[in-house]
Structure formats: C-alpha cells, structure tokens
C-alpha cells in the first residue's frame, strides 16, 4: 500500500494546471518583439558594412586618409627632385659622410684607340 502526501497531491494538481496554460502571444506583443529584433538588426548593419567602397577607398583608409596621402605625395616629389638635381649642400654633405665621389670605368674607353684597331688603313 502506498501512502500519498495530500500536500504533494495538491502540488501535482497545481503543476498539471500550470502545464495546461496556453500562453499564446498577442499580436501586439509579437509586434513589440519583432520591433526589438529590427532595432538590433539595424544597429548591426553598419558594423557588417564597415568597409564600404572599392579597392582605392580601402587603400586610402589603410594609409590613414587624405592627410596622410598628401604628406606621402610631398615626400615622394621631394625625393625625386633631390635625386635629379641635388643641391650643392647635399653633395657636400654626402661627401663628408661617405667620402669623395669616385668614378669607376669598367671599360677602358681609349683601349681601342691605343692599339690602333679602329684606325683606318
């Protein structure tokens, strides 16, 4: 014979009643939940599209934008100018740092003339 606790019987009945609750979301409540979802999704969108534009825009961003690129362009032009027409002060400076300029010829340009190989007759 099994003894049942009347308090537990009541509890089991209450549990059964609770389980039978049909909590169907109302349309207004569904709308609120979906509005939340839309809000969260809208806030996520810019994060996903964080790298807009094409290759050029992305390269520009990688270098640090227009200010950085204009600085780079100025430095490039200055470098080319110094290379083509170095100021005399620059030549003096390089000479003092790495010594005098030395020319080395790989071919003796007057060799053929010395031997007379190219002489007529």
């Amino acid at each position: 014979m099994t003894m049942t606790n009347p308090n537990e019987d009541m509890l089991d009945d209450l549990f059964a009643q609770a389980r039978s609750i049909d909590a169907k979301p109302s349309h207004a409540f569904l709308a609120r939940v979906l509005a939340d979802a839309d809000g969260v999704q809208a806030a996520m969108r810019p994060k996903q599209a964080a790298v807009p534009g094409g290759l050029w825009t992305r390269m520009l961003d990688a270098l640090g934008g227009w200010p950085a690129v204009s600085g780079l362009a100025a430095a490039t032009i200055a470098g080319v100018w110094i290379g083509v027409a170095p100021p005399s002060s620059m030549q003096d400076l390089t000479a003092s740092l790495i010594g005098d300029e030395v020319s080395v010829d790989f071919f003796a340009t007057d060799f053929a003339f010395d031997t007379g190989a190219l002489a007529d007759g």
């Binding site: 308090n7 509890l11 549990f15 909590a23 979301p25 609120r32 979906l34």
Partner: protein, 216 residues
C-alpha cells in the same frame, strides 16, 4: 512604444507568416541557422524564429511568474538577449532552445527574488486564459499566483529545477544540460524544492479550493 501603424504592419506580416508557414523558406533548418541568418541581416529569419520560439518562452515565463504582464516582460527580455547574442552565436555549440530555457529561467528567478516578501496587488489583476466561467477563472488565477509566490520563496536553483521539471515537463538530463549541473544534482534540487513547495502551499489548501483533499 511602437507606433500603431507599425504595430498594424507587423501584425499583418505575422498573420501572413502564420498563413504561409507551409512555405517556410527555413523549413527543416535548425534554429541556430536562422539565428545566423538574422545576424547576417535577414529580416525574415527574425519573423520565423519568433514564430518558432516566442510561444514556448512566453509559456515558460507565464508558468513561473503566474502573471501575464510580467511574463511578457520576461519573454521580451529573453528574446532581446537572443537578438543581441546572434552575431556572436557559435553554431553547433549550444542549442538555441536550451539557451533560451536557461535565460528565461534566470530572468524569472531574478524577478521572483525581488517579489519575496512584497507581493503586489497587480500580480492577481489579470486573467491567465479564457476560462469558461468567471469563478473557475478566478480560482485558476489564484492558484497560479499562489504557486508562483511559493516558487519565489525557494532558493533560485531549486525554483529553476522544480519549474523545469514540473512546469515544463523536461527530463532530468535535459535540465542538467540547461542548468549546467549533473543529473544527480538535478534530482536533489527537484526533490528538495518540491518538498519545500508542498510545505509552503500546505497552509493555503482551503483558500485554493483543496480543503476536501480532492484535487479538481
């Protein structure tokens, strides 16, 4: 607060979804696949996920809270947490349903804890369902409120284990997974919780219509 026009538009959209569930583009896809689609900007994914998950979340919250408006607040909060975790969701690591059971359960015990010793009148203000008669409806409401108030008196883990076992009807291994504890711990928590709940409810038998020891 959502403008009425938006509410109406969303409601129409939902009605359309309910009518065309047979054409569910995500039919057969697991919940986490929909959640990832949502994180990737698919608006339809949110609608289908809500249709799948919200009724169960709301039911769980209603059973634990014993009050429809509080249950809606909990369910909305749980769903909000789901939307927010979507971009970081790791597919195949956890089931969305398990995660939602855990979150809803935690949110309910957070609220129940605050309710301890301070039961407000609005907790018995709204009917739970469309019961056939007003007296029966009132009695069901009183019983569910009493059950929820008694759950509020239990330690959080006991209240969670008891509600998952006896209100949701889940198995002990399922509860162990949700609560991240061993099956043995679940058994212990549910047994102690049920005993404590029976003691708490013992003094309210007559009030709740159980005075003749014959549950209806």
């Amino acid at each position: 607060m959502l403008p009425p026009a938006d509410c109406q538009r969303t409601a129409i959209g939902l009605a359309r979804i309910q009518m065309t569930l047979s054409q569910d583009p995500f039919l057969g896809a697991p919940d986490d696949a929909l959640l990832i689609a949502f994180a990737n900007g698919d608006r339809q994914a949110a609608r289908y996920l809500t249709a799948r998950l919200l009724p169960r979340v709301l039911a769980q919250a209603t059973r634990m809270m014993g009050n429809p408006s509080e249950a809606e607040d909990v369910a909305q909060d749980a769903m909000m947490r789901l939307w927010k975790i979507a971009p970081d969701w790791r597919q195949n690591e956890a089931q969305v349903s398990t995660w939602l059971y855990r979150v809803t359960s935690n949110l309910c015990t957070d609220r129940l804890r605050k309710r301890r010793g301070a039961v407000s009148l609005d907790q018995v203000a709204e009917p739970l369902d469309d019961a056939p008669s007003v007296p029966a409806q009132m009695q069901t409401r009183a019983r569910m409120t009493a059950l929820s108030d008694a759950l509020a008196q239990l330690p959080d883990r006991q209240a969670q284990a008891v509600s998952l076992r006896h209100l949701e009807g889940l198995s002990n291994p399922e509860i162990a997974q949700i609560m991240d504890i061993s099956v043995r711990s679940v058994e212990s928590l549910t047994a102690r919780g049920k005993r404590a709940l029976a003691d708490l409810m013992a003094g309210r038998k007559a009030e709740l219509g159980y005075d003749d020891d014959q549950p209806e």
